[in-house]
Amino acid sequence: MDAAILNGLLALADPHLLMLIFVATLGGVLVGALPGLNATTGVALLLPFTITMEPIPAIAILTTIYCAATFAGAITAILINTPGTSASATTCLDGYPLAQRGEAGRALGMAAVSSTIGGIISVVCLMAAAPLMARAAYNFAPPEYFALTVFGLSMLATIGDGSPVKNILSGAFGVLVATVGIDLLTSIERFTFGMNELSEGIPFVPVMIGVFGISELLVQADNLHVERKQVIMKAIKLPSRDDYSRVWKTILRSSGIGTFIGILPAEGATVASMIGYNEAKRWSKKPEEFGKGSLEGIAGSEAANNSATGGAMVPTLALGIPGSPTAAVILAGLMVHGLRPGPTMFTEQADFAFAIFWSMMLVNIIFFFIGLWGAKIFARVTLIPIQVLWPIVFIFSIVGAYALEQSMMDVWIAIGSGILGFFMRRHGFSVVPMAIGLILGGMLETRLGQSMVMLDEKWWLMLTRPLSLFFFVLTVLALFGPTIWGRFFKQRSPLKSTGE
């Protein structure tokens, strides 16, 4: 393992790769700062560009976009009171009031420092936890994997602010879409309508581009009247010694919370930032300052959302279960590159895994400097009119969807998924569970089939295996726990997720 850690670090010594990571960090910050675009959309749009690359630079670019865009949401949250990504929604609450008081530079400085510390702590946890989790999962048999995948899907219930039933329905629809094509167990075609293009199934990438990119274009058609005004900022200030002494505990606490939330399947930076913010307020000596420009509020939110990025990569790489919506798109990227996330990644592709970890560490350091010196410039990009931005995003979306298989069918799939995603969102169905269901659907069916063979078609024997039973119990808790909890205890948090 030590050799893999070193080899992973050495892989980053390639100047070409370093340059790519630097450019991707700039791109990620740009994506996070642009209105309507977020880390998930950015990664989905960039995925086709990485197809011709080697796996390390390709996945490093995607994870770089993920980390940098998550941080950059804070820039617009503080300067124009519009979170660049939903994970920065809580940063608005204190960042913008500080900016209005003429302390935008101080707010951005705090956001950059807490994001960087949170990000680095989570990558250290990722390096330690992912191989351990993979080792624990190494002896999983198909029933355990099936139960784990069911648990991962059940966590979709709590994504966004939609109804849990609608989220599960959306996830189940994604799983159903994943059954299109040749059945891997029996080699029989299903739902292909005689079209050869569908025999390998519905491709992930055009669907991702559709549901995250094109559906957002239709949403933006209703936001043309939104005016964005930037608060004037002189220069970014690093936090003072007094500031550090006030917030260091908050940063550490939120980093721990964010990493833990990130590790939970499907829960991402948005949930982490809300819990991080709430806990910062609960433990603060001056809770009355929250919402009026508290530095602790910014630190709590930003440390948590950036630490969730590293946490989310733990189950993604170690188990093949995405830890967040953006991690789900990265998982699709790993599959497109022929990589097999799971326990074997740390035995057969350990150098690759650690190169990705080190690249994430590097990004957290790079965006600290970009955040400090480039925020003023990046904040200006938020003023690009959406009348110009979104037609350009559309062109990249369509060409990206086409480029992977060089098939016009994929363009139709992207547009169809976009329109479907738009209507789903209008009726309160999050598109994230559908995308994750599509990615995990094939895995779920294969593992159920293998389990049935292994258990002689007696599916109930899965419940006699301690680990499977454990995951099924967790699934029941994930699905019904919040309802039971809500009946017995009053809900305390006034904040709601904006969904990622």
Binding site: T52, F191, F394, Y402, A403, V411, M452, V453
Partner: protein
């Protein structure tokens, strides 16, 4: 006046409250019927499940959840689609039709029309998104990523 304002502020409750779950159930019924048409493997070659078993399991789950939504969902129906969204969707359909003639002609026309539809009146901006960007993207993907685009009215000028 107050009453009128209150009425407008109330969430709209229309047929979509029931139409969405019923539509999903109808779709599932169709998908279930399709799944009954799949070929089956002989019992001796069967490996755990028949090809229709898993899709039918998922369809059953979706129907159950839709029935729950039908009776228990109390969320308000969304506002009517605005004219801008309808016209943007119309442009998307127009793009798909023109893309059959030439993908980049479709992209250029769509991007330029969308910018104009959304209120962009500066010529250079429409020119940028409708002409410069599609050309730049074409040469980027053709030259750097070696993507071969479908032949069409304009792409033939390059491919010969």
């Amino acid at each position: 006046m107050q009453d009128a304002a209150d009425t407008t502020d109330q969430p709209r409750r229309d047929i979509s409250r029931y139409a969405v779950p019923l539509g999903i159930i109808a779709f599932c019924a169709w998908a279930y019927w399709l799944s009954t048409q799949f070929d089956r493997v002989p019992p001796i070659l069967k490996r755990g499940m028949q090809p229709e078993d898993f899709p039918q399991l998922v369809i059953g789950l979706i129907i159950m959840l839709s029935v729950w939504l039908l009776f228990r969902d109390t969320s308000a129906a969304p506002e009517r689609l605005t004219k801008m969204v309808q016209m943007t969707m119309g442009l998307l359909i127009g793009f798909l039709l023109v893309a059959e003639i030439d993908l980049f002609l479709g992209l250029g026309l769509f991007a330029g029309s969308l910018a104009a539809l959304w209120g962009e009146r500066r010529f250079w901006a429409v020119f940028l998104v409708g002409l410069i960007t599609p050309i730049a993207v074409f040469f980027l993907f053709d030259g750097v990523f070696e993507v071969r685009f479908p032949r069409g009215l304009l792409t033939n000028l390059w491919y010969g």
